[in-house]
């Protein structure tokens, strides 16, 4: 079995992939825990959850591929891959003809375009600023005193969306509060937030040369309001895979599988670059 572990800034996501079944890979289990201070410990917890779901013992794991900002922090990894490569790989597995990807996590926004062969053609990530990423919504939900899980669906009920002009995840707070005190509904505020986030994302997507439709992954993809805002802003179809937040972990596992097979097949190891660190 292959484990793909995505160590994100907010959550650690793990996927267990079956490597036995010929060419096709199947996901046997998933696990997610909040990223704590001790990355290794949290990663083990996430792995344990996934193993539980797969009803497998830890010894069943033959290969571990890590990704995400903490990819270097696990001592027990076999390979580490960036979240962009693994996200692209995961999407290509789920949507073989995919053209462009948007991945919005807790602190990051990534736009990726794929070439016809499904490889990463271009990508852009947000700068040293949390504007436009998932934490913006987490904060907004907090100010609005609604559970995060409901934010996406509430936004769908908006009648008159109120745009947010501040790009700063922190300063937007006073704007949101102003809207509240002016009597704007929570739905309209949320919808406005999604619209401005979609605006920002569309800029990134344009810069990587998005052409057709979009696959949207990462934790924020679970929020329907954001999906709709993107569809409206971009005028394209937006696909969200089930378990959108696990796509990077899946991609990492797939790449791990590929490497393991290659290593088993050939005596010489291929690729290797960053992996075979000195």
């Amino acid at each position: 079995m292959i484990a793909g572990i995505d160590i994100g800034s907010g959550f650690i996501k793990t996927v267990i992939l079956d490597d036995a079944a010929g060419r096709d890979a199947a996901v046997l289990g998933r696990g997610q825990v909040r990223t704590g201070v001790d990355l290794e410990k949290a990663a083990r917890q996430a792995l344990a959850l996934a193993l539980d779901e797969a009803a497998l013992p830890a010894s069943a794991i033959a290969y571990v591929a890590t990704t995400g900002f903490g990819r270097y922090s696990l001592g027990f990894r076999d390979i580490q891959i960036t979240e962009i490569t693994s996200g692209a790989r995961g999407v290509r597995f789920l949507y073989p003809g995919a053209d462009a990807i948007l991945d919005i996590g807790g602190q990051s926004t990534r736009a990726i375009s794929l070439n016809p062969a499904g490889k990463v053609a271009h990508f852009k990530t947000n700068d040293k600023c949390a504007a436009g990423s998932g934490s913006f919504i987490v904060r907004a939900a907090k100010y609005l005193q609604i559970p995060l899980e409901q934010a996406g669906d509430l936004a769908l009920q908006a009648l008159k969306p109120q745009p947010i002009s501040s790009i700063c995840a922190v300063l937007a707070e006073s704007e949101i509060i102003n809207h509240v005190s002016a009597g704007t509904s929570v739905e309209d505020i949320l919808c406005g937030i999604y619209e401005s986030l979609a605006d920002r994302s569309s800029l990134l997507l344009k810069r990587v040369g998005m052409r057709r439709d979009l696959v949207f992954i990462g934790g924020v993809a679970r929020q329907q309001g954001m999906v709709r805002a993107l569809e409206q802003r971009l005028g394209v179809r937006v696909d969200v895979p089930p378990h959108a937040e696990f796509v990077c972990a899946l991609g990492a596992a797939l790449l791990g599988l590929q490497r393991r097979r290659a290593a088993a097949g050939a005596s010489m190891s291929l690729g290797g670059s960053c992996i075979a660190a000195e």
Binding site: I81, T82, A117, T125, S273, C274, A276
Partner: protein
Amino acid sequence: MRSLSPRLLDIPRCVELIQDLNFAEVARWKAEHPGGKAIAYFPVYAPVEIIHACGMLPVGLNGAGDRLDIQHADARFGSFICSIIKTTLEMAITGRLDWMDGMFFSTICDSARNLCFVSKRNFPEKYWDFIHLPQNAGSPAAVDFLEQEYRRILLQLESLAGRKADDDALRGAIRLYNHNRELLRDLYALRERHPERLRTWELYSLLRAGCFLPVETHNAGLEAALAELRAGAAKPRDSIRILIEGSFCEQPPLDLIRLIEEAGCYIVDDDFILGRRWFTQDVPSEGDPIRALAESYLNRSVYSSVRHDPRHPRPRALVEKARSRRADAVLFLIAKFCEPAYFDYVLFKQAVEAAGIPHLLLEFEEKAFTFERSRTEVETFVESLLFD
């Protein structure tokens, strides 16, 4: 760390020179040459031969990297201005350039030009000058103009030095720098052929150390380094061959260069410290030396984002370079807010895409000290070329 030649110029020593914000080497030169003047120049190019012929030490300033906390310069240059402008000014304000007797700027960008005059106001006791390098290389009038411009500068330097520089002194300087550039060309060729033998951050250190050393010393060090490297051997790594474009002025932090290599890249050509490697052929050391320098600037220069030459479009030159170095990809390594590099990126990008060469744009600031984002971007890029 490998040591190249313990006595002359080993890599750790070079790194130390680059990072020395006290410019001890320059101070030492001044102590050894009482009354001698040190003339700094801002990137990209300056006619160092003329400075040398006047018995002065040319010092190439390329910012201060992350070793300087910017406290004053932000107030003078504000937002949306590249780091090197601020680190240069910060060094001056905090007294780190007190050794300097004068400084040259030239036609590279608007920020640098304004810095020349802001510096002049703040430090009126020093000699500041702006060299107008012609941008109409196709016109015969340009050579004549540049020759006159160089003569103007020569006069200024001579009066600062209190002595004349005759043609022989100029020719001698030309020969010394010709040799320096030849050695650097050899080192670059060696790295291109055997990137496993000479890492780019090492080559870079050797190159940049020359900015602070008398050319004679640098030549001797490079000769020794070259001899040693030619004899050496190393195990090839599994890396892609990339070419770096866009770092002609502000320099990326050494750690970033290292990181790029560690992420799985062989850098097979670059435009670091481009001014020291400006000429593609030797400057003629016969005839009128000033005319030779002017004429070489217009007819024997490398292509560069800060020099317009209608006869040789830069995008084409970049593609030719990538082909001749057998580069798998181009890494546009651009200083944040560097306007000439940003503009050229647009046409470069079109050209490399038309030529089917993969490329990545990576921005940096010389004052940065963490590179998480850059690491992710370079690794992804390498992965996209390696995995299928």
